[in-house]
């Protein structure tokens, strides 16, 4: 212990200097930390707006796509009736031409369905945005806590912010990639007897 005494004091001294330097560094970063903390709610709000805008846009495209689908349905029905009449009147050439139009409409129906399914991107965007907002809230909480712990806030705010920091700290939402594709899912389902 006697031999270790000076060494221990030396190490404690180094530790104290390190803590002091760290405090100084953090103090120097105070304005940036405070500014960043203040900007995070706005960033979360922008993301939420983005989600809402994609939802509004997607719903409008869906509305128009469904209108076209309904129109196509009516046109196909009418064309089918006309073709029947033309066949009965022994006009095969004209009936054949109209049947080609019907098949083009059927192909367009397929494209319209593909447009609808492609719009599922909005759901995935919304889920990612939700996760990002949760992460931003988490980071904001950590920053606020850091600012409070090191006494970097303006005087008189520390006590209130300490409890605020505690409230703001939430579990970081897991942000896993959704890498598994349908083929992999089907392979696993097959292992469970789904055929």
């Amino acid at each position: 212990m006697e031999n270790g005494g000076p060494k221990l004091y030396e190490e404690l001294g180094e530790l104290a200097r390190f803590v002091k330097d760290t405090m100084r560094t953090l103090s120097a970063a105070s304005p940036q930390l405070t500014s960043t903390s203040a900007q995070l709610p706005a960033a979360a709000s922008h993301l939420s707006d983005l989600k809402q805008m994609t939802e509004d846009g997607t719903l409008e495209v869906m509305r128009l796509t469904e209108l076209i689908q309904d129109n196509h349905g009516r046109i196909a029905k009418d064309l089918s009736a006309v073709v029947e009449v033309l066949r009965a009147m022994d006009c095969p050439t004209l009936a054949g031409r109209l049947e080609k139009v019907t098949s083009v409409l059927a192909q367009d129906e397929k494209y319209l369905t593909e447009i609808m399914t492609a719009l599922s991107f909005q759901d995935l965007v919304a889920q990612r945005v939700k996760k990002l907002v949760a992460i931003l809230n988490e980071v904001e909480g950590k920053l606020v806590e850091l600012v409070v712990i090191f006494g970097l806030q303006q005087s008189g705010q520390a006590a209130g912010d300490a409890s605020l920091a505690g409230q703001l700290l939430k579990q970081l939402e897991e942000s896993k990639t959704t890498a598994m594709k349908q083929k992999v899912a089907d392979d696993i389902l097959a292992q469970f007897g789904f055929k």
């Binding site: 939802e55 719903l59 129906e109 593909e114 399914t117 599922s120 909005q122 759901d123 899912a185 696993i188």
Partner: protein, 126 residues
């Protein structure tokens, strides 16, 4: 047993866009009798109040998740035979295994196509 085109189908998703997409695809496939629910709890209420032949559900929803709703369906004597298709972005293998263990009828990973939905319907109602 082949799918009855007149059967009532419940689409469960908290996102209005996804409910609309699934409804649209089902309509294109000949199923026009479709109702909607925003979460598992609302879905269970509808399932208990009416007769449904098929459920298409998301996984991540507020109030009650799709997997909890699936377990509740399988635990309910009156509902347990209803086929449940999960359509979800929860694409981790552990999620799929959890769904299989809970009694899912099949599983679609988002984003998906109308062909995938048709294929899964064909497998469930063969």
């Amino acid at each position: 047993m082949p799918a009855d085109p007149s059967m009532k189908i419940l689409v469960v998703d908290d996102m209005v866009t996804m409910r609309r997409i699934v409804k649209n695809i089902l309509k294109q496939l000949g199923f026009g009798n479709v109702d909607e629910a925003e979460n598992g709890q609302e879905a269970l209420q509808k399932l208990r109040a009416d007769t449904f032949g098929f459920v298409v559900s998301d996984w991540n929803m507020p109030v009650m998740t799709g997997i909890d709703m699936l377990r509740a369906i399988r635990a309910d004597e009156k509902l347990k035979a209803i086929p449940v298709l999960m359509v979800t972005a929860e694409a981790q293998q552990s999620n799929l295994i959890e769904a299989v263990q809970a009694g899912v009828s099949n599983y679609i990973v988002k984003p998906f196509t109308a062909e995938t939905m048709q294929e899964k319907l064909g497998k469930i109602f063969k």
